[in-house]
Symmetry: C3
Subunit: 307 residues, 3 copies
């Protein structure tokens, strides 16, 4: 069965995840050897309704490493501007005539799904509002497997903004597919993990614990997944934001209690929730994690374009 649209984290089962990761490992080789030409003649369109330069560059590099070409806009709101008022569906029906795959970033939850319904070429969801960002979830999971050697049986602490963090939410869905995973949620009061995820985990019998003492949790987990308190989600509630940030910081005190082979992850960008002193520690996996995004995206592009 060929992988076509990539819309949400839940669409992947363990077998498919395992195929993607195996492909990504091969891509590390390909990249090391200076790239390949298997997507020669293929064109990827990045259609971004809001800028997300890091994600866009990562996809574009992935396409180019495989010999493909890229047409690109971070200005796709122009399509749907007040004056022109084109629907997302019409835009996709036009762009699918120019490209062999469309990487879509949109500000509305569900946009990728709508695009997939009319597109004649694969749609890859590169984030749709508060909804999904499945390639990020895949690279997170890939990083865990690569760094620890396995996913079954791990214990992971998710720290920071668990209410708004698209990343941690998607990761929960994926981790629920593995055995004996234990989760610890460490979040300021105003941004605690939402009920829908907690119910999902309960339904899938994944044990989770809401904790307050990061140091205590840090001493027993294999993965600390730190996230940024997202100022932009607080709007006018500056006080709430100021209260939330700065409570849970990864620094040398946390490093001191962590297991020697545990890792620290972060979807980046970080502000000050990981102190710079942590960067030199071999357990700091976040820049390697960002790099893994390239391999995962190469793997996905190869899979959707060559079947």
């Amino acid at each position: 069965m060929r992988l076509f649209h990539i819309i949400r984290a839940q669409q992947f089962d363990r077998e498919l995840l395992s195929r993607i990761f195996s492909e990504a490992r091969e891509m590390e080789d390909v990249a090391r050897k200076g790239g390949s030409d298997i997507l020669f003649g293929k064109v990827m369109a990045t259609v971004f309704y809001e800028p997300s330069t890091r994600t866009r560059l990562s996809f574009e590099s992935a396409m180019m490493r495989l010999g493909g070409r890229v047409i690109s806009t971070e200005n796709a709101r122009e399509f749907s501007s007040a004056a022109k008022g084109e629907t997302l569906e019409d835009t996709i029906r036009i762009v699918d005539g120019y490209a062999d795959v469309i990487v879509l970033r949109h500000y509305e939850s569900g946009a990728a799904e709508r695009a997939a319904r009319v597109s004649s070429v694969p749609i890859i969801n590169a984030g749709d509002g508060p909804g999904q960002h499945p390639t990020q979830a895949l690279l997170d999971l890939y990083t865990i497997e690569k760094e620890l050697g396995h996913i079954d049986g791990i214990s992971i602490a998710m720290v920071g903004d668990l209410a708004n963090g698209r990343t941690v939410r998607s990761l929960c869905y994926l981790l629920a597919k593995y055995k004996d995973v234990k989760m610890y949620f460490v979040a300021p009061d105003v941004v605690r993990m939402r009920d829908d995820i907690k119910e999902y985990l309960t339904r899938h019998r994944v044990p989770f614990y809401e904790e307050e003492d990061l140091k205590e949790v840090a001493s027993k987990v294999d993965v600390i997944y730190q996230t940024r308190i997202q100022k932009e989600r607080f709007g006018d509630r500056i006080e709430d934001y100021e209260r939330a940030r700065g409570i849970y910081i990864i620094n040398h005190e946390i490093l001191d209690v962590m297991k020697p082979d545990a890792i620290i992850m972060h979807p980046l960008p970080r502000v000050d929730e990981i102190a710079p002193e942590v960067d030199e520690d071999p357990r700091a996996a976040y820049f390697r994690q960002a790099q893994n995004g390239l391999y995962i995206r190469m793997a996905l592009l190869k899979m959707v374009l060559t079947g």
Copy 2:
């Protein structure tokens, strides 16, 4: 005689149009087979003084399908900004050192002509203000020929904003080169076809009729060319805009009276002047028309770059 600059619809005679369309048909094959490499090593610059993402992506995809490369800006106004104040001519004299062909979009009528006067590489006009957009006119004409099998002898209804629509104006110039073409103009009062075009058609003995009853006209033409009422052209005159839009809509009532092998065209984007129910009808040609833009632009790039 080699095709060099592409500035205005009037520059093409029937023989050249026929060569372009024959090249475009070949390009459909090339695209189907995954592209070609005949423009390998060539660089196209898209220099856009105002964003027009759809047009830009179409040109860029065309260049890439032929193995060429692209450098691109939608921010060319920076060149001529108040602080830096560079003339268009100077900008072109610099960019022609970086690229083998320049695709220019500008907000001023006549800009492409000025650019062509100083450029050492071909200039392709991708729209200059209220002036010309010749590649759009070519793809429109190509669509008619491809869909109907001929251009001589057709009758066409042009509907909507005929005063400001660069597209319909250019198409009139081109259709006047063919035999026995009959035109019907169906436009709200405030945006009727302008006198310069009507005089041009009279001079070239092309019969045209200004009509009010779209349904009546729809029943007898081979092509309905619908256009958007361009809100941005009305400025403060919101009432005029509101009065003009919504008068002439293509919907199932129009479909019901149309000839079985007639087609509906639209330069896109559309707002609500074609109802979504029309999309599934085989006579709805507008997405195929957009796709034809790719083939026409591939053909033109090949012709100006390889002679």
Copy 3:
């Protein structure tokens, strides 16, 4: 010794400059023959914190002429925006995972140096605020050598905004490495050459003269390097700006007194400090100078990427 980061004009000695120029001469051949593929599989990232379309297009064209590929943003301020607040160092540590070389444009002096400290791939400084723009300095020097056949022994007039002109400052550093160079500074009072450069020249025993009579100077130099009075540097001091501009204009009166084999250079864009009537004179070297930027950048990319 392999060339890696390119940060400032002073980093080059005569031997390295000579190697770069020899490479650039080869690149002219390569470009004439339609490019090469020696950078096939390599990816260049242009990371611009402020737009500089001309510089960006020049680098991108250079990379493509050598078969390389490009990922690009002029929107890099998004990385460090108030909401996300990522440091330049973090951004570079991520992008160096996507690309084989990073071309950086930044608004802060010293940014390229900071980037180089953390990057695992070569950084090329494409201008960092009032600081350096070394590839511009190299193409200026290359132009002098190419046009005059030598650099030792030349006399050069630098004209216009010598206080804020990054270009002339960098060129002074480079010219100080050559023998018997004589400099004339001709600047409005408010934008005279700064003391740091004058002290540097004194220390390196380069004779320089501050003059007021452009015509008199023009009659005896080999190179007139004209620059734009940069309005954007004056802020509210509009009167100072108006007083400074228009004092020193290159026009037919200057052409009349110049030596027959002298040249006129300008980093471009120009406003009105060179009259259009000068363009047709063979001594007007500024468009050829811009074109040389392509060859210098091809040479540098080849050198940093292939060793």
